[in-house]
Symmetry: C2
Subunit: 313 residues, 2 copies
Amino acid sequence: MPDPLFHKIALIGIGLIGSSLARVIRREGLAGEIIVSTRSAETLARAEELGLGDRYFSRADEAVRDADLVIVSVPVGSSGSVAQEIAPALKKGCIVTDVGSTKRSVIAQMQPALPDHVHFIPGHPLAGTERSGPDAGFAELFENRWCIFTPLPGTDAGALEKLSEFWRRCGSNIEIMDADHHDMVLAIVSHLPHIIAYNIVGTADDLEAVTKSEVIKYSASGFRDFTRLAASDPTMWRDVCLHNKDAILEMLARFSEDLASLQRAIRWEDGDKLFEMFSRTRAVRRSIIEAGQEIDVPDFGRQVVEHPAGGKS
Amino acid sequence: MPDPLFHKIALIGIGLIGSSLARVIRREGLAGEIIVSTRSAETLARAEELGLGDRYFSRADEAVRDADLVIVSVPVGSSGSVAQEIAPALKKGCIVTDVGSTKRSVIAQMQPALPDHVHFIPGHPLAGTERSGPDAGFAELFENRWCIFTPLPGTDAGALEKLSEFWRRCGSNIEIMDADHHDMVLAIVSHLPHIIAYNIVGTADDLEAVTKSEVIKYSASGFRDFTRLAASDPTMWRDVCLHNKDAILEMLARFSEDLASLQRAIRWEDGDKLFEMFSRTRAVRRSIIEAGQEIDVPDFGRQVVEHPAGGKS
């Protein structure tokens, strides 16, 4: 094992992302010591049972003492209070980062609270599954995914490079952009898809003419694809909606406008327009597969998983 | 091999569904002879290269001669013309069925054209992937999926049972409902999800502030889930929209109403309402997994496929 990249890493929050980090940090030997902290006594006990860290604290300020890297992995609405709690205990020169899905709001919440003698580098690993909690994490979560930093003006180049190296060793590729652009990009690639998925599952759940059991029974014809995103953590997604409001409302307005146009084409039986709308989208998936961001098997590989012996003819 | 269920099966259309049928019919020995027909010379040649049938015809009427089972697997907008073409050539007592995703329209198109001396039993296997064409099929496609029949009044019980047995041997479970209800159920579990997926991929493709390459690069954070449905066959989906218009417009209206309400909760920062909306949907996915209509691994099993050695920690 090479020398660890950091002497002591404190993980504040030990859900899907935090616990995946704990696992990959251990596997790759990225820290001399892993400190785990979460406010929930139950979650902390579970993290300890799983052996995710070396030491465990319910108080975040105790967890960050002497740490040279602090990773805040909590719902974005809690970033501010975590920053206030840890600020007095942070070591000089420590790197503080986060994993939140909105960046303008996290910066606005955390930056004023943190002392000048630490390196605050807002970050966002674009990785996740629909599961949450310390049991849901796994060391491979960040492999071949992007980690976006939105550094503030005057960020120390050495600290940024060290944090980049950390994420590369977790398996990720690094991208830098400003916080405004990040929030706009994420609104379309992540936030809108989740909101739409939650919405359609809600619509289906409310029908009178079609029973819930019918929706479930026949879900393989399309509906089930939406239920994965709609099974994501409600606290996380409530916070994302509240903290990236402007960009999300902008994307929702465009989506609704496009949907009204599609609806009109259906009402007026404009087959040519429908065909054109449905033709342009196939290339997008092909590009995603070519970019290595999706597996190149039909049906998300479900058939492969269901028939591990490779029963495809 | 037991005696084949049918002497001669004619497959009209040899895309994803038709070619999957050809493969499972062969594997299970369900026909003495498999006749393949499609209007496209290129597709017919490809089906022959793949060895999907025993004989090949570009004319559907030649294909159905002496067949005791005819399965029409074409876009629903073509059902009527196929019915007219095959009607004069159908053997007395032959079972004619289809696989279309809309049933009222298929019945309205096919029933008037077909002679009284055949058993017309409208059917719909709820199975598919985002791929199309004769190469896309596989024998396991129908396993553990539902096949819905919407039989007309006075349907012969023996013919219905024989067709049911056929689909059971293809791996499917049988359900019977009336055509109106089928079209309403499918509008929510299949048609609306596809339309929404096409729409969101279109919206993303049109943005100016976020580039196409960014959408692709960062798609793993949610967006890519929608691109699978949006990669489906545009001809098939144009026809579905035109032929299940009323039920689809009803579902679209409900979806848009719900989305407006969600949008309002975001604008007015109603966190409690958002949390409640996002909390009720997790149970739906759990039920789908329990019903055996989805695999019980996170991220549709993509991680398992990407790490076939079982790298999960």
